[in-house]
């Protein structure tokens, strides 16, 4: 009897293992997450993109060219900076900042746009399109398109056009056409929808530079790979400073490109390095006004990928909210959903007012104005550092600079006074 039971259990395990294997080998999937849920017409273009990307990945010349521009145009490597005054002020673990805010155009976005536009050039596509929320990815795409003399269209929701107006002017100056998106919630998610619709309609000569680790396969992989330069540099730099790996790496997660970029090279060392992704808690999870798809979303299919999504009980996509336009997205990269499920990365959230407080504190103590997105990661570091020993090391990915957010922050304080 027991023997029979035992055998049944073994058989079950073998079956489960087989199934696991099967899942792993599904093309474009991270466990259950990912895939390619798009209209048939896009499949051909995505296949071609995947093929060309695989070739480029093995092409020495492609890497040389990309590295040349990363170094001489984007300003890499970016420094890893020990924030001494912030560390002293909190009085706990040592806090380092990975200074992606010092990249050309003020954010990590350039790492990906340079890679993808070079890829587009290889594919002989002359027209570049991109979506943008906060405007950072739009500005970065517009700049690189100017650099390579390509035509560029940026899709941006009318709500975002209003709250990130300086970036609209920058894109125009860089020669891009900014297409106002008036459908749906008129923010980032609708800009993505409209960019995809435009791409479907101009598939033969257009390259879509997707700005985050979201969307259909192979985008989550491509964007992650191009952003991994952040983590690769960080690893080298912290070893030089401290002779060892950090104890914590903290990064904010909207779609999740800067966090994937810094986490990815550390995924094999998660026994030593705790990776923490911080979502936008907005005005609180209970309020429903947030962008925390990993914390409170559910499995669903949104914009071409199966991931965690903010949705109602019938699968209609909910609008996200955050004080930072870059975290205001109801979906998240499928690899993040996978890493959460596997317990490789911990995800938590920070509220608007905590992020604004971190924005102010870092500006006052270090003379560094962080983007509101990155301020979420800074806020979380401040929260946990005080409870940690002084010999512990935290690295925060400071993904962008905060000049663009001056207006949002002063508005926040004015509203608080009322």
């Amino acid at each position: 009897m027991d023997d029979k039971k035992g055998r049944a259990i073994i058989n079950k395990t073998i079956k489960a293992k087989k199934e696991n294997k099967k899942i792993k080998f599904l093309k474009g999937y991270f466990g259950d997450y990912g895939g390619r849920f798009v209209p048939e017409i896009l499949i051909d273009a995505l296949e071609e993109l995947e093929k060309k990307y695989k070739l480029a990945k093995r092409d020495k010349q492609f890497h040389e060219e990309l590295n040349y521009y990363l170094k001489n145009y984007a300003g890499r490597p970016t420094p890893l900076y020990f924030a001494k005054r912030l560390t002293d002020y909190i009085g706990g673990a040592k806090i380092y900042l990975k200074r992606e805010d010092l990249c050309h155009l003020g954010a990590h976005k350039i790492n990906n746009t340079l890679g993808q536009v070079l890829l587009a050039k290889k594919m002989n596509k002359q027209n570049i399109i991109a979506e943008t929320g906060a405007g950072q990815h739009g500005v970065s795409t517009a700049a690189v398109a100017a650099l390579f003399n390509m035509k560029c269209k940026i899709f941006m929701g009318s709500v975002d056009i209003e709250r990130q107006h300086p970036n609209v002017e920058r894109m125009k100056l860089l020669g891009a056409e900014v297409v106002e998106v008036k459908s749906g919630s008129r923010t980032l998610k609708d800009a993505v929808n409209e960019a995809i619709r435009y791409w479907v309609s101009n598939i033969d000569d257009t390259y879509y530079v997707l700005g985050s680790v979201v969307g259909p396969h192979p985008y989550p992989t491509i964007v992650r790979d191009f952003q991994s330069v952040i983590g690769i540099e960080t690893k080298r730099q912290i070893k030089r400073f401290e002779g060892r790996l950090p104890d914590y790496i903290i990064a904010c997660v909207g779609g999740g490109s800067n966090s994937m970029g810094i986490f990815y090279p550390f995924l094999r060392e998660t026994d030593k390095v705790k990776l923490i992704g911080i979502e936008a808690g907005g005005k609180g999870i209970e309020s429903g006004l947030h962008g925390a798809s990993l914390t409170s979303g559910e499995k669903g299919i949104f914009q071409g990928t199966l991931s965690n999504v903010l949705q109602d009980s019938f699968g209609q996509i909910k609008e996200a909210y955050s004080i930072s336009a870059g975290l205001d997205y109801p979906g998240v990269g499928p690899e993040h959903a996978y890493l959460k499920e596997k317990g490789k990365v911990k995800y938590d959230y920070i509220l608007d007012h905590e992020a604004v407080n971190a924005f102010k504190t870092l500006s006052e103590l270090e003379g560094i104005i962080p983007a509101l997105e990155s301020s979420h990661a800074v806020a979380y570091a401040m929260k946990i550092a005080s409870n940690l020993e002084k010999d512990k090391i935290i690295i925060v990915n400071l993904s962008g600079r905060g000049d663009k957010d001056m207006e949002s922050v002063s508005k926040f304080f004015t509203n608080q006074l009322i």
Partner: protein
């Protein structure tokens, strides 16, 4: 015994039919057989469930049937309809603002079924099905009288991952073919689709257009060589001229944005409905002659 084996072989060769349909044709297959015998073409109008509101949408469906529709395609409104242009985006938004959800869609079909047996196919984005529970969705759909299912964001590879669900359902799963699909893909798609093959006539999203892409006729001819399954042409079909150009190369026409844009642009629903009846009557006349 030998006969059984013979039947199995037949079933395997006829890949357009699943095991569950042994010996019995679906309503959609029957209607295409009927049309072929009469040498006529099918007309498949599209409506958004709950646009302009739930009662008027049911009225619209019955007017479409009276004016010659062979199959009705009903769209479940979705918040982020990637494959749709401005017209269906608008009607979807209005429907969602009217509080339409998946259960209401099923109930509305039950209501339509009280008076009509016209074949009904649902068009839905995959998240709606996934969130409802794929089994649940397929069961409820077939129990209220839905005959087929079109999911524009579930291409071949993803469809394949969920194939078991569809094979166990009596619904016809209708797949889409595009101008950019390779020959190899077209073969696979047409072997897996049931009822008919949805041929997308544009490199683009749904919407009102005045001409036919130059590649369409070649595309339909190519498909005719690959498959016996009926070909329904949709996306951007709006005028009698377009229909005259393509009708001898396909088996049915799907028209959505044009019909809905007539309603969107009308002063009131009754006026719109009158224009729609006229349009549909004329379109159908061309298809049946």
């Amino acid at each position: 015994m030998v006969k059984d084996m013979f039947n199995q072989v037949i079933n395997k060769t006829n890949s357009n039919k699943s095991n569950k349909n042994i010996g019995s044709k679906s309503k959609i297959e029957k209607i295409f057989e009927y049309l072929e015998n009469k040498n006529q073409k099918g007309f498949i109008p599209f409506v958004t469930c709950g646009y302009p509101n739930i009662n008027d949408y049911i009225k619209l469906v019955s007017v479409l049937e009276k004016n010659g529709a062979d199959i009705i395609e009903i769209g479940i409104p979705f918040s982020d309809p990637l494959a749709d242009g401005p017209v269906i985006q608008s009607t979807s938004k209005i429907a969602l603002d009217n509080g339409i959800n998946t259960d209401i869609v099923f109930n509305s079909i039950k209501e339509i079924r009280e008076k009509s047996s016209i074949p009904i196919v649902l068009l839905t984005y995959f998240n709606t099905v996934y969130r409802y529970g794929i089994d649940n969705f397929l069961n409820n759909a077939s129990s209220v009288g839905v005959d087929g299912l079109i999911i524009p964001d579930l291409p071949l590879e993803e469809f394949y991952n969920y194939k078991n669900y569809f094979e166990n359902s009596p619904l016809d799963n209708i797949l889409l073919a595009s101008l950019k699909s390779s020959q190899e893909r077209l073969k696979k798609i047409s072997s897996l689709t049931k009822g008919f093959l949805y041929c997308v006539s544009v490199k683009g999203v749904t919407g009102v257009r005045n001409n036919i892409d130059s590649e369409v006729i070649e595309f339909l001819k190519r498909l005719k060589k690959i498959t016996q399954i009926p070909l329904a042409l949709g996306f951007g079909i709006s005028t009698i001229e377009q229909i005259n150009e393509v009708k001898k190369h396909c088996d049915a026409i799907i028209m959505g944005s044009k019909i809905l844009s007539v309603l969107l642009n009308a002063n009131d629903f009754n006026e719109g409905l009158e224009s729609v009846s006229k349009l549909v009557y004329e379109v159908n006349l061309v298809l049946k002659s």
